[in-house]
Amino acid sequence: MSSFDPKIIAFCCDQSGYPAADMAGTLKLKLPRNIEIVRVPCAGRIETIYLLKALEKGADGVLVFACYEENCQFLRGNLRAKARLAYAHRMLEGIGLEKERVEICHLATNSGVKFVETLRRKSEQLKKMGPNPAKES
C-alpha cells in the first residue's frame, strides 16, 4: 500500500460530530493519521467555499459530520449542509474531480463508533483514489 496518508478535513458539528469524536477518543478507537477536526456550532455553518478551499489548499478529502435529519438542534442545519454539498458536487464534476472527495455523514452525539468507521472507510477510499490532483503544490 502506498505510504500516502490522505489528508482529510472533518467538519464536526458541535451537537453531534464533535462529541462523537470525543466519545471515539474515550473508547480509545484509533483513527488514521493526517485528519484535521474542525469544530463548528452547526453543520449549517459550513459554507460551500470551505469545502472547495479545503480541497484547493491541500486536503485530499472533506467529510462533513452533521446530525441526523429531524434531530438537528437548529432544525435545518443538516439540510442546508446537504444542499451545499450538492452544489460542491456539481462544481467538482464540472472540473473533473471525483465527487467522493467531499461527503456528508449523519450521526448523533453517541455515534463514536460510526465516526471512526466513516473516517477509516474514507481514508481507505482516498488511498485508492490517490492524492488530490487539484491541490496547490
Binding site: 451537537q15 453531534s16 462529541p19 473508547l27 446530525c67 441526523y68 435529519e69 429531524e70 434531530n71 449523519h106 450521526l107 448523533a108 452525539t109 453517541n110 455515534s111 463508533v113 460510526k114 468507521e117
Partner: protein, 350 residues
C-alpha cells in the same frame, strides 16, 4: 485524596438519582436560579439511559438517547449544581419545612438541611432470568434489549455472543416481565415496543441482511411521528410483525440456533421457527434502591409497584420512571413539571 465536599452551592434542594430525570430537574431548577445538590449511587451520571446507542436509520427515529448525552455534558457545565457521585441516603428526619438528610459518600458522612427532596431513583430492567422458559442466562444467544443496545453502542454492529458472527435471523420477544400475570406485573412498560422497533430499524439499516421477527401483543405508540415510523416498519420486507407471544425456547445443539414455539395467526396453529439470536424486550421494575428509599421516606407504592407521589406540601417529590414507566421523552417532560412544583413549593415558603 478525599476531596472536601464542596457544599457551598448545595442550596435548598436535594435530588436523589442522577438519571435523565434527576439531571433535568437539577438543570431546570438551576435555570430558574435555584441551586441544588444531585446525588448518584453510581460513579457516573446518566443512569440507565446513558448507555443507549443511537437508533437512527435513514433519519432520526426519536429515541432521545443523544438528548441524554447532551444533558449530561450540560450539567457538568453548570456551577450552581453540586454533583456527588457514589453517594447514598442513609437517614432522613424533619418535617415539612426542613428535612435533615444524612448521606454517605465512600467512608464520609454528610448532613444536609434541605427544604425540598426530589426522588428520581429510576428503574431496573426486569430480570429476564425470571422467565425461565425463555432461557436467559442458560442460552448464550438469548440477550436482553439492553445488552443489544450496549453492543451497538460500543462495538457498532450486532453479533452473536456465542460465536461473534452476524446473526441472519433475530427474534424480538415483547412484554417480557410486563403485562404478565404469572410475574404479577399487571402494567405495560410503555417503552419496549418503540424501543425494540427502533433497534430493529437501526440494525437493518446497518446490516440489511439481518431479518427480524417481532413477536408482540399490542404495538404501543410513542411520540408524534410514530404512525409514519410504524408504516415504514410494516413496508420493510425484512421485518415480520407477528401478533403472538412465544411460549418456549429450546437450544438445538446441532445448528447452534434457538427454536421458538409460538402461534402463527395466519395459519392459525402453533408453529416452531429457528433463530440465530433472541432479544428479550424486558419491562421496567422499581429499582432495589428505590424500594429502600420508599421505606426511608415513608412513601407508599402504587398498585403497579411504583412510588406513589406524596401530597406536594410534604416537600418530597417523585419524578421519572420510578413513579411509573416512561420513556426518556416523557421523563424529561415529567421532570420539568416536577421542577416547577418544587419551585412553587419553595416560592410558597420564601
Amino acid at each position: 485524596m478525599a476531596e472536601k465536599v464542596d457544599l457551598s452551592s448545595g442550596g435548598e434542594v436535594l435530588i436523589i438519582g442522577g438519571g435523565i430525570s434527576g439531571i433535568t430537574v437539577a438543570l431546570e431548577l438551576a435555570r430558574s436560579g435555584i441551586p441544588s445538590t444531585l446525588i448518584e449511587r453510581e460513579p457516573s451520571l446518566g443512569g440507565l439511559s446513558a448507555s443507549f446507542c443511537c437508533k437512527a436509520s435513514e433519519s432520526c427515529n426519536k429515541c432521545f438517547a443523544c438528548v441524554v448525552d447532551k444533558r449530561i455534558s450540560e450539567i457538568y457545565q453548570r456551577q450552581d449544581i453540586s454533583i456527588l457521585t457514589q453517594t447514598e441516603v442513609i437517614g432522613v428526619k424533619g418535617n415539612r419545612e426542613k428535612h435533615q438528610v444524612s448521606l454517605k459518600k465512600g467512608k464520609e458522612k454528610i448532613d444536609l438541611k434541605v427544604s425540598a427532596i426530589v426522588i428520581a431513583a429510576g428503574i431496573n430492567p426486569f430480570d429476564a432470568s425470571q422467565k425461565v422458559e425463555y432461557g436467559y442466562g442458560r442460552f448464550k444467544n438469548v440477550i436482553t434489549a439492553k445488552d443489544l443496545d450496549e453492543m451497538l453502542r460500543h462495538r457498532g454492529t450486532i453479533s452473536r455472543p456465542s460465536d461473534g458472527k452476524l446473526p441472519k435471523t433475530v427474534a424480538f420477544f415483547q412484554c417480557v416481565g410486563s403485562r404478565d400475570e404469572s410475574i404479577g406485573n399487571l402494567y405495560c412498560s410503555q417503552v419496549c415496543c418503540a424501543y425494540a422497533l427502533r433497534l430493529i430499524k437501526a440494525v437493518r439499516y446497518q446490516t440489511p441482511e439481518v431479518k427480524a421477527t417481532f413477536l408482540y401483543m399490542d404495538i404501543q405508540p410513542a411520540g408524534a411521528s410514530f404512525q409514519e415510523f410504524l408504516a415504514s416498519c410494516r413496508e420493510d420486507k425484512g421485518i415480520r410483525l407477528i401478533r403472538s407471544l412465544p411460549s418456549k425456547v429450546y437450544h438445538s445443539p446441532l445448528s447452534d440456533t434457538l427454536r421458538v414455539r409460538f402461534t402463527d395467526p395466519e395459519r392459525g396453529e402453533v408453529v416452531e421457527d429457528s433463530f440465530d439470536l433472541i432479544v428479550l424486550s424486558v419491562g421496567m421494575v422499581l429499582s432495589k434502591e428505590a424500594k429502600r428509599l420508599t421505606e426511608l421516606f415513608r412513601l407508599s407504592l402504587t398498585e403497579d409497584g411504583f412510588i406513589a407521589s406524596p401530597p406536594t406540601q410534604t416537600g418530597v417529590f417523585v419524578t421519572g420512571a420510578c413513579s411509573g414507566p416512561k420513556d426518556i421523552d416523557r421523563s424529561i417532560l415529567h421532570a420539568k413539571s416536577a421542577a416547577f412544583l418544587v419551585q412553587q413549593h419553595l416560592s410558597g415558603r420564601f
